[in-house]
């Protein structure tokens, strides 16, 4: 169980550019260049592979504590590692809700114990996600979990005064409010995108304006109090326009899009198969194209998977009864490659920006999202862009079988993932978890490891 090994990655195309060797020693990248030599290092032939900075997900549902039947930190971070992620932000809608220092520290510690990816808990904005009073944001920020991202995801902070106060308050510790933009009154009972398809299917609509009106309000609030706003899972063309406008005005807003909203549309709902039920809902072709364009031009900053595993019984039922959400960690890279890179909209350097550098910056993760150069923390994903594979949810590491991409052939395969210089994934399979040398395998003494980075 050596965690201090050194690795020489030979001939990888660094962020899609020319081939080079990467030397990894003691958790850091110590050299990038041609024909590097290192005695004692394990050599990995990366010919034909692309080296990327480890992916960082701003939006992951790990379900623990409370819904361990759907996912655990262990299974969710295994899925993350296999998907090329070295860090995930665990959303706060667990049970109990992550609205106290105690819960976020628990989730943080579970992540360290698991060792498959860095787990950064997201703190709830309001107590119990109830939208009534602020949770102890300062206590979560000061906890060992050092929470910087706060979100009631799944619920919208719809009260404008509460949203204003939250935006103001997190300035004290450089936090960000990640808003689930959904006007609740406009979406009561909503089942799917409101439009031509919902009209025929006879399902209560989730109109685009319910998202756009909250984003418009929030960017103005963020401007007014000069704070940081992050918009979760943007899903409509109108939202992209509002965010573009806000950025032109210099408002500190960032935005995320999910892989599924870059590809799938509400036409799939005609099957009434709840695997396509998600919040915000799948929209139209026009929205998909606007989201892709917004992601390519930087209006949308990051990919967030909104990985939302559910037990099968939550989807084996009527549409209206089914839970909302889709898995995403193990398909994100491939779906983004398909929708954004193979369509010619972006290159691998952009991919690194939207899946690693920007999400790490928004989440204030110091040793994630760094460029692949000497001195950086060795968080690295090796990808075979020429590989093709068919999505089989039963073969995934996540407990969730609710992948909307089941049966589709996708490009790109994660071959290896390095977390702090340790390969959590090798040859496309789970290797061993990262275990901090100073603490030993699951040996406690968390204070020794929690202060780094």
């Amino acid at each position: 169980m050596s965690t201090t090994g050194s690795y020489l990655i030979k001939g990888a195309r660094v962020v899609g550019a020319d081939a080079a060797d990467l030397l990894v020693e003691n958790g850091r990248i110590t050299g990038v260049g041609s024909s590097l030599q290192a005695s004692g290092a394990t050599v990995l032939d990366a010919d034909g592979l692309i080296a990327l900075p480890g992916m960082v997900d701003l939006h992951t549902h790990l379900r623990e504590p409370g819904r361990e039947d759907a996912e655990t930190v262990e299974t969710g971070t295994r899925a993350a590692a296999l998907g090329g992620f070295t860090a995930v932000h665990a959303m706060a809608n667990s049970s109990p809700v992550a609205d106290t220092a105690g819960v976020v520290e628990q989730v943080f510690a579970l992540g360290q114990q698991a060792g498959w990816a860095e787990v950064r808990p997201v703190g709830a904005v309001t107590v119990g996600l109830a939208g009534e009073r602020l949770a102890e944001l300062g206590a979560m920020a000061d906890s060992r979990a050092r929470v910087r991202v706060f979100s009631d995801d799944g619920m919208c902070v719809s009260d404008p005064v509460l949203m204003r106060r939250a935006l103001e308050y997190v300035k004290a510790f450089d936090g960000v409010i990640a808003q689930h933009a959904q006007e609740p009154r406009l979406t009561e009972g909503a089942q799917m995108n409101e439009g031509a398809v919902s009209a025929v299917l006879g399902m209560a609509g989730w109109p685009a304006v319910a998202e756009e009106s909250i984003i418009a309000r929030d960017v103005l609030l963020a401007q007014h109090v000069d704070s940081r706003l992050h918009v979760c899972h943007v899903s409509t063309a109108g939202s992209v326009e509002i965010i573009r406008w806000a950025k032109h005005r210099g408002i500190k807003v960032t935005a995320e899009v999910t892989p599924h909203h870059l590809w799938l549309t509400d036409e799939l709902v005609r099957s009434y198969d709840p695997v396509f039920k998600v919040n915000p809902p799948l929209r139209t072709d026009e929205d998909v194209l606007a989201l892709r364009a917004g992601l390519a031009d930087g209006t949308i900053d990051v990919i967030g998977t909104d990985h939302a595993p559910h037990p099968s019984e939550a989807k084996e039922c009527e549409w209206a009864q089914a839970a909302m959400g889709m898995t995403g960690l193990e398909t994100a890279l491939s779906v983004v490659q398909h929708t954004m890179i193979e369509s010619g909209l972006i290159g691998w350097a952009d991919f690194a920006r939207i899946t690693s550098a920007m999400p790490a910056r928004i989440g204030r993760l110091a040793h994630q999202g760094q460029p692949l150069e000497a001195g950086s923390a060795a968080n690295i994903t090796l990808v075979d862009p020429a590989a093709r594979w068919t999505v089989d949810p039963a073969a995934m590491a996540t407990k969730g079988r609710n992948s909307p991409f089941a049966g589709r052939e996708l490009p790109g395969r994660v071959v290896a993932t390095f977390l702090n210089g340790h390969p959590t994934v090798l040859d496309g399979k789970l290797n061993t978890p990262f275990a901090d040398g100073s603490a030993g395998q699951a040996a406690g003494q968390p204070q020794a490891q929690s202060r780094e980075g």
């Binding site: 089942q191 398809v197 006879g202 099957s271 009434y272 039922c317 009527e318 549409w319 209206a320 009864q321």
Partner: protein, 348 residues
Amino acid sequence: MKHLLSTQDLSKADAVRILDTAEEMAAVSDREVKKLPALRGRTVVNLFFEDSTRTRISFEAAAKRLSADVINFAAKGSSVSKGESLKDTAQTLEAMGADAVVIRHWASGAPVRLATSGWIDAAVVNAGDGTHEHPTQALLDAFTLRRTWARTNGTASAGTDLSGMKIAIVGDILHSRVARSDLWLLRTLGAEVTMVAPPTLLPVGIDGWPCTISYDLDEALAKRPDAVMMLRVQAERMNAAFFPSAREYSRLWGFDDRRLAALDDHGLSDTVILHPGPMNRGLEISSAAADSPRSMVLQQVRNGVSVRMAALYLLLSGESRSTARSQADTPDTVPAAAGTAPTEENAS
């Protein structure tokens, strides 16, 4: 035809075949012995997740007149909160030998789910799902309209369609499974449809539908419809701000005595009024209109049994015809021809 889930995917040939078969079934219902042995030994389950006595007894009468065994299963309320899932319920019923499941559900798409999920093999008949579709209601409406149209044109109805017929559908289109099923089927049969409603009760996205939209019932009546279909309006809609008050709704979109008289003023002697029931007298339709000679409401109910007999017959005796025939051919049954197809019992 394996299932009957919606009228949107029903071809014109299938629709006419169902209506023509229903004409034959109607002749059976006029006989002293209102029974055919066609589905003897087959089991039809009425699986109702939503109360609807009218639709259930209509299906029950239809299945019994075809000699099928009928099991009624009322799974009231929210099934999941009470425990058993749709999947388990359906598989349980199939394990008891259901050949067809007639499902009524408050959730749009539940019958589609049942038919396509692979949970069961039985034929699925949609008896109304949420605000999606109600195909047998549309078929009985089309059956009623086709007879009206044939009478107006002085022909027999069998084999005909609704080409050239002008039909206004009035009321809560947004929440109406009947309006959706009617529109697709009536268009397939060649009718012209106008949807009349307050803008709040029309779905966003309706612009692509093959119909004319009107907010003005008087204007729609002035365009000389051959039939006016009034939809049930639930007074609760008022509380969700769909319209200001029941009285205002009734004045603007109700088929009241004044509009009944307007049909005469326009010289529309053949124009009929339909309503899927149950009616809110005084809200969307006045008593004078509901009880007038123009009202087709009771014919619709009667025709409902014939149409549902036709649907069950075509679904259950179709691909399994050999099974049905071998049962029907056993010595002490009625002559085989009557047992397998009611063609010889044709009216006229």
